[in-house]
Amino acid sequence: MIELRDLTFSYTNPDGSLVSETPQLNRVNLKITKGEFVLVCGPTGSGKSTFLKTLNGLAPSFTGGVITGELLIDGLNLIGSEPHEFAHLVGYVNQQPEGAFVADTVIDEIVYGAEQLGLSIPAIKQSIDEIAPLLDIAELLERPLVTLSGGQQQRVAIAAALIAGQKILLLDEPTSALDHEGANEVLRVLRNLAHDRGVTVLLAEHRISRVIGAVDSVLVVHGDGSITKGAPQSQFNDNRFAPPIIELGLKLGWNPLPTNNSEATKLWQSGKHSIEAKKLAPASKEVVTLQDLKVSFGTVTALEETNLCLFGNQITALMGENGSGKTTLCWAIQGSGTITSGKVTTSFGDTSSMAAENRLDVLAMVPQRAADLLFLNSLSAELTESDRFANVKPGSTASLFQKLAGRIDTAIHPRDLSAGQQLALVLAIQLVKDAKVLILDEPTRGLDYAAKRALARQLNSIRATDRAVLIATHDIEFVAMVADRVLVLEKGRLVQDGLPTDLLSSGNPLASQIAEITREPALITIEQVLS
C-alpha cells in the first residue's frame, strides 16, 4: 500500500540552505501493507509528525524543505506532489480537530472532502451511510461541531478523512487532548477500521500503553534520520519511549515480551513477585485553601461550590473528563481566572488581589498552550531571559531543560521545536523560579516516557522543599508515577479525593496499566515491582 524507497527529507532555511547536516529523514526504505495498523513512535522531537506529513505531501508543501526518493502509494510515485493530489488516497487527522474544521455542523464537515474531490451526490450519500455508523456518529450528523465532546470531534475528523473512500489514514496524536473515555472510543474505531475495513492506519502516539496491544507493527522514528519497523515486541530496546507493559516485561525478563494486558496478566500470575508499597508524601501545612469557590461563565456553571486544601510537600493530581472544570480551577487558583463567588487564599496572601508581578513570586503555572509563553527568537535567548528573570545562576534553566528534553542546539528558533520540546522549555522556565505553589495544566502532552520520568524526578525534588504542586492531567501513567493525592472532577463537581494507590488501582476506571496487568491491590507503578 505504501512503499518508501530512499526517502530523504531535510528542512531548509528561507535562503534555501539546509537547516542541519543530517536530514530529518535519511534514505528511509520501508513497506506498509494494506490493512496494517501501525503505531508510529519515537522520542520527543524525533520527527514523527514530519514523517506522517511526508506521506501526504503536507511536508514539504506546508512545512518547507526538500524531499527526494520515491514515495509509492498504491503503486503510484507521488513524490513532490501537492497535498490535494494525495487527497483521494490518504486521509489525515491532526492533534486538534477543532483547528482543522472547515464547517459548523457535522455533516457539512464530513462531506467537505467528498465535495472537493467531485464525488456525485448519490455517492456522497452512500458514503455517509456507510461511514457514520462505523464511527458511531450517525446520531450526531446535524449537530454543530462545537457542541461535541473531544472524542466525538475526533471521530468526526476521522469520518471526514475517509469520506471519499481513502484507504490510508494518518493520525498525528489524535488522542493527546482527549480524556480516558474519549481516547478509548477513538482507538476502538481505529482498530475496527484497520482490521474489518482494510484501512491502512498509521498512528503517531506518545501514550503507547493503551495502543500497544492493538497494533500490528511498530515504526520507530529515531530522530537521527533513521526509521525502523518491526513487530511490537522488537521495537522497544530504547526505553526512552517504552510503555509500562514493556518495561515490566524487560524488568522481569519475560520472553517473548507480551504486548497486551491479558497476556501479561497470565505471565504475572504464573510467577512469584516481591513488591513494595508506594511511597506517598504526607501532607504538611495548608498552602492553598479554596472556600466555596464557584465559577460560572454566563449561564454555564464551570465549577460548582468547591472547598479544598492543597498541602505543602504534596503533589496533587487533578483528573476528570474534558470540560469537567480542571483548567477553570487552575486559573482560579492562579488568580487571574474568573471567580464568581467564594475565595482562594494562599498562606502567602490572596492571589486574586495581588499585582501580577507579586503573584509570580508565590505561584508559577504552565498553561495548556505552553508555547504562548515563548516570544524570543532563539532557544538560547529564552534560556538566558529565564535565568535573568528568575534571578538564578546563568545556565540553570538550560540544565533543567536538558534534563527534560535532551541536548538541543540552542540557536534554533523556539517555534521550530516540537510540541513536546516547547512544553519542556516552558516547564523548565517555570520550574526554575522555585515558586511556592506550582500549577501544571496538562504538562505531559507530547513528552516521551523518559521526559516524563525526568519531570517526575524534578517535581519530587521540588515538593520536598515544602512546595505545593497541582497537576491537571489525563495522563494516568504520569499520575501513578508522581501523585501523592488524586482529585477527580465531574461536570464541575469534585467527586473524589483520595490516594492514587486507591483510585488508580486495579478495577477502577482510572486504573494504571501496571494495576490492570498485576491486579494486585495498591500496586500502580513499575517502581513498586522489585522482582
Binding site: E82, H84, N94, V102, Q116, S120, M365, R369, L373, I429
Partner: protein, 326 residues
C-alpha cells in the same frame, strides 16, 4: 414570540448567508465614503452596531466587534483633536470654539499656528471626516463579526487556488487574532514582564505566530482533503487566466480609487469597475472549466438575506443619487 424577537430571529447570523453580510458591509462602506452628511454617517455607525447586537451569536468572531468599536472611537477622537490643534482656518466672525492661538517661530521666517478660534463649520467637518472613517470601520467590523468565516471559506472558488488559500487565511486572521490576543495576554502574565519594547514583543510575537499557525493548520487541513484540486489545463489556459485575473484586479482597484478621489466622473469610474468585475468573472470561468467540485448542500438564501440585501442596495442607490445631485 414578540415582533422584535422575530425580527432578531430573521437576521440571526447563523440563519443568514454569510455573503450577504459582506455585501451589506461593503455597500455601507461605499455609502459612507460617498456621503458628506454627518447625520447619515452617525446613523450608519449606530445602525451597524445595532445590527450586530441584534443578529450576533455566541461565536468567537462575534466578539471582535468590541475591537472595531474601540478602533472607531479612537479614530473619531484623533480626527477631531488633530483638527483643533492644527487649526489652520482662523475663524473670525463665526467663531464657535474660542481657543487662544499659539504661534511658534520655526526660523526662516516661518511660523506654526496651533489652536486658535474655530468655526462651527470646521468642527462639523472634522466630525464628518472622523465619523466617515468610523462608519467604514464599523461596516467592515459588522461583516466580520456576523459572517461566519468558515462558511465564506467553503464558498471561495477553488478554481483560484493560490488566491483562495491566501484569502481564506486572511479572512480567518482577524477573528483569530482577537481570540488569541486574550489568551496570550493572560499566559504572558505567568512568565513575568520585561520592560519596554520587549514586553510588547512578548504579546505581539506569540499572537501573530499563533494566528498564522492556526490559519496555516486550517489551510493544510483543506488542502489535505482536496481543496484546490482541478483538472489538467493547458499552459495557454493558465496564462490567459493569470493575465485576465491581473487585469481584473487592476481595473477594480483603479476604478474604486478614482471613485473615491474624484466623485465627479462617476460614470467612467463605475464603468471601469464594471469591466474589472466582468474580467474577474471570465477568469473564474476559465479557471473553473476543469474543476471537479460538487456541492452536497448549498447555502440557502433566506428571507433575512433578502432584507439585508434590499436595505444595503437601497442605501447605496440613495447615496449615489445624492452624490450625483450634489
Amino acid at each position: 414570540m414578540s415582533v422584535t424577537s422575530q425580527k432578531a430571529h430573521l437576521l440571526r447570523a447563523n440563519k443568514t448567508n454569510p455573503a450577504s453580510w459582506w455585501i451589506a458591509g461593503i455597500s455601507l462602506s461605499l455609502v459612507s465614503s460617498l456621503t458628506g452628511n454627518l447625520l447619515v454617517l452617525i446613523s450608519i455607525c449606530i445602525g451597524t452596531m445595532l445590527t450586530v447586537f441584534l443578529a450576533r451569536d455566541e461565536s468567537p468572531w462575534a466578539r471582535s466587534i468590541g475591537f472595531y468599536l474601540k478602533l472607531a472611537t479612537i479614530v473619531v477622537f484623533l480626527r477631531v483633536v488633530f483638527r483643533i490643534i492644527f487649526n489652520l482656518g482662523t475663524a473670525t466672525s463665526d467663531a464657535f470654539l474660542l481657543l487662544p492661538s499659539l504661534e511658534f517661530d520655526v526660523g526662516f521666517g516661518n511660523t506654526i499656528h496651533l489652536f486658535g478660534p474655530m468655526s462651527e463649520l470646521s468642527l462639523v467637518a472634522a466630525f464628518t471626516d472622523g465619523f466617515r472613517l468610523a462608519a467604514i470601520i464599523l461596516s467592515v467590523g459588522m461583516a466580520n463579526s456576523l459572517a461566519n468565516p468558515r462558511k465564506i471559506l467553503k464558498a471561495t472558488p477553488g478554481a483560484l487556488y493560490e488566491i483562495a488559500t491566501a484569502i481564506s487565511i486572511a479572512i480567518n486572521l482577524a477573528p483569530q487574532l482577537i481570540s488569541s490576543l486574550n489568551r496570550v495576554r493572560r499566559a504572558r502574565s505567568l512568565r513575568g514582564r520585561s520592560k519596554g519594547i520587549r514586553s510588547l514583543a512578548g504579546i505581539v510575537i506569540p499572537v501573530l505566530e499563533d494566528t498564522i499557525e492556526q490559519s496555516m493548520a486550517l489551510a493544510a487541513s483543506m488542502s489535505a482533503r482536496g481543496f484546490g484540486r482541478r483538472g489538467k489545463r493547458t499552459a495557454l489556459q493558465i496564462l490567459i487566466a493569470r493575465l485576465l485575473g491581473f487585469l481584473a484586479v487592476c481595473l477594480c482597484v483603479t476604478g474604486v480609487v478614482l471613485l473615491l478621489i474624484s466623485p465627479d466622473q462617476q460614470f467612467i469610474d463605475l464603468a471601469i469597475v464594471f469591466l474589472g468585475l466582468v474580467a474577474a468573472a471570465f477568469t473564474i470561468r476559465i479557471s473553473s472549466t476543469k474543476a471537479t467540485r460538487t456541492r452536497f448542500r448549498t447555502e440557502p438564501w433566506r428571507l433575512g438575506d433578502l432584507v439585508v440585501f434590499a436595505v444595503s442596495i437601497t442605501l447605496l442607490l440613495l447615496a449615489f443619487g445624492g452624490a450625483f445631485a450634489a
